[in-house]
C-alpha cells in the first residue's frame, strides 16, 4: 500500500469530503493502486530528458485588455442552489 489510511483521511478533509469507514477502506485501496500505477514512470530512465514544466508545447497565449459583455446577472445566478436577486447564498462564513 503506497497510501496510508491517514493520507486518505487528510486528503478527504482537504477536499471537504466526509468518507464513511467502509469508503475509507475502499478509497485507500483504490487510490493506492492509482499511485502505484503512476509510479511505473519512475522506472523510466530520464537521464537525457529535459524536465517538463508544462504538458502543452504552447507559449504566450494572451488576450487584449478589452472589456467584453459579462453575463446578465440572472443567468450568472441561474445554477445557484440558493440565491437572492443579487447574490449567491452559502452557509454562514464567519471570521474571514
Amino acid at each position: 500500500m503506497s497510501l496510508s489510511r491517514e493520507d486518505v483521511e487528510k486528503v478527504s478533509l482537504l477536499s471537504r469530503l466526509k468518507l464513511s469507514e467502509d469508503e475509507l477502506v475502499v478509497m485507500t485501496d483504490q487510490m493506492s493502486r492509482i499511485i502505484d500505477y503512476i509510479d511505473l514512470l519512475s522506472e523510466v530512465n530520464t537521464d537525457d530528458v529535459e524536465p517538463m514544466t508544462h504538458a502543452v508545447e504552447q507559449f504566450n497565449v494572451f488576450a487584449d485588455d478589452v472589456v467584453h459583455q459579462s453575463l446578465p446577472r440572472d443567468e450568472a445566478l441561474a445554477n445557484a442552489p440558493k440565491r437572492d436577486d443579487e447574490c449567491f447564498h452559502v452557509p454562514a462564513v464567519l471570521g474571514d
Binding site: 497565449v61 488576450a63 452559502v90
Partner: protein, 491 residues
Amino acid sequence: MSESLPYKIVIGLEVHVQLATKTKLFCRCSTEYGNAPNTQTCPVCLAMPGAMPVMNREAFQLGMRTACALDLQIPLFTKWDRKNYYYPDLPKGYQISQFDLPMSEKGTLYISDPKGRFEPKDVGIIRAHLEEDAGKSMHDEANGKADSRIDLNRCGTPLLEIVSEPDMSSPEEAKAYLEELKLILSYLGVSDCNMQEGSLRVDANINLHIETKNGKIATPIVEIKNMNSFRAVERALHYEAPRQYDIWQETGGVIGEISKETRGWDDSAQVTRAQREKEDMSDYRYFPEPDLAPVTVTEAQIAEVKASLSELPQQIRKRLQADYKISEYDAEVIVNQGQATVDYYEALVSKVNDGKLAANWITQGVLRILKEQQIEIDAFPITTDRLADLLSAVQNKEIDTTRAKDVFEKLLESETSVADMMKEMGIEKVDDSAIDSLCRELLEANPKVVADLKAGKQQAVGSLIGQAKKKNPNIDPGSFRKLCLEIVQSM
C-alpha cells in the same frame, strides 16, 4: 530606539496590489469597482465546466514594469499553478497563482527616513508574482446563523503579490517600506493603490530574536491580517512585538515548537486577536495549471520595459536636491506628493530660478491648501505662472513675505493676475526716497528708540517697523529696518 528593547524585531511584509487593468486576469469581465453584485461575471470567472482562462497581456506588462522598478530579476520562463483550497468566494476550488517559477524574484527597495528614526537600508524582495483575486463574501453579523452572500465581481481580478524578505526591524521601517512601495506603484501607474477599495492589502509577518544565556532564540512567527491603513500596520506591529515578548516570558515557546499563528488586527480595540485557523489549509497541493500556457520573455523585452520606465521617486529626490539645492526633507515632501506635484515644482523653479524659495512656497503654502480643501494639485487654482509672478514680486522686494501670503490667499479665490491683485489690494513698491523720509520722520519722533539703538539694542527698531507699516502698509520691513539702522549709525 530599539537598543533599549530586550529583543530584536523581525518583520516581513506581503503586499497584494490590484493591477490597473480594465479586465480580469483570465477573462474579459470588467474590473470596475463598486458596481451591483454579480454583474461582472462570465463562465470563466464563475468556474463553469469547460471554460478556459486566457492571460491578460496588460496585466503581465504591468507586472513586468513593477518588477523592473523593484530591481527584481525576470526569468525568461514563467508558469502558473493551481493553489487548491475550498472557500465559498473561490468558485473553482483553486486559485490560479504562481508557485515555483514566479514571473520575478530577488529585488530590493530602498527606504530612508528624513526624520532619522532609522538608518537607510535596502529591504530585500523575495518575489513578485501574478495571481487572481477571490470574490467577496458578505455576512450580516447581526443576523447570526443566516446565509452569507457571495459577490463574484472581484473574482479573477489581477493581483501582484509582492513578498519582502524579513528585513525590517521596526514598525517605522515597515511603514516606510509600504509608503515607498505605494509611491513607486503610483509613479509607475500600475495600480491606484486605494486601500479602502482593497486595491492594496498588507499582511505582516513578525517575530522576535532574543539573546538568552543559552544563545539566541526566535519566537514563533505571527501573521497579522485585517490592517486597513499603513498606520494600522504600524500600530499592529507596535502592539504585537511586546505581546510576543510577554508570551515568550510566560511560556518560553520558540519557533519550530509552536506553529505559525494568524492574528487579526482589531482597529477599534487596538489589539491583535487570534483568528480561527482554516484547519489544514496550509496544504495547498500546488500543481501546474494545465489550462494556461506558460509565458516566455526575452532579454530584449526586459530591456524595453526597463527603458520605458519613468524616473522613480528616489531618483527624483536625488535630482531635485542636486539641481535645485533643496534639503533632503523638502525633496522628500515634494516627491512623496506624486508626479503632478514634482511637475508643478519644476515648472515653478524654471520661472523663478530659486529652488529653495519655490520649495518653501509649495511645502508651506500650496500643500497646506491642498490638504485643507481636500483637492489634488491638478485642481489647485493658482497656476505656476501666477505663483511665479508673486514670487518674483517678493524677489524684487515689491512686496514682503507676509503681504505676499495675503495676496496668495486672495489669488485662491479669483483668477485675477498678480499685478492686478496687488493693485486692487493697494500694494505697490515704495521707492527708496519714500522709505528714507519715513525713516527719518519716525526716528525724529522717537528719540528713546534712537537712544536704545545707539546703545546696541537692535530689537528697538521693531516698534518703528510697526509704526511705519501703519503709515504705509507697502513698506518692506526688511529694507526699512536696514535703512533705520544705517541712519542711526551715521548720526
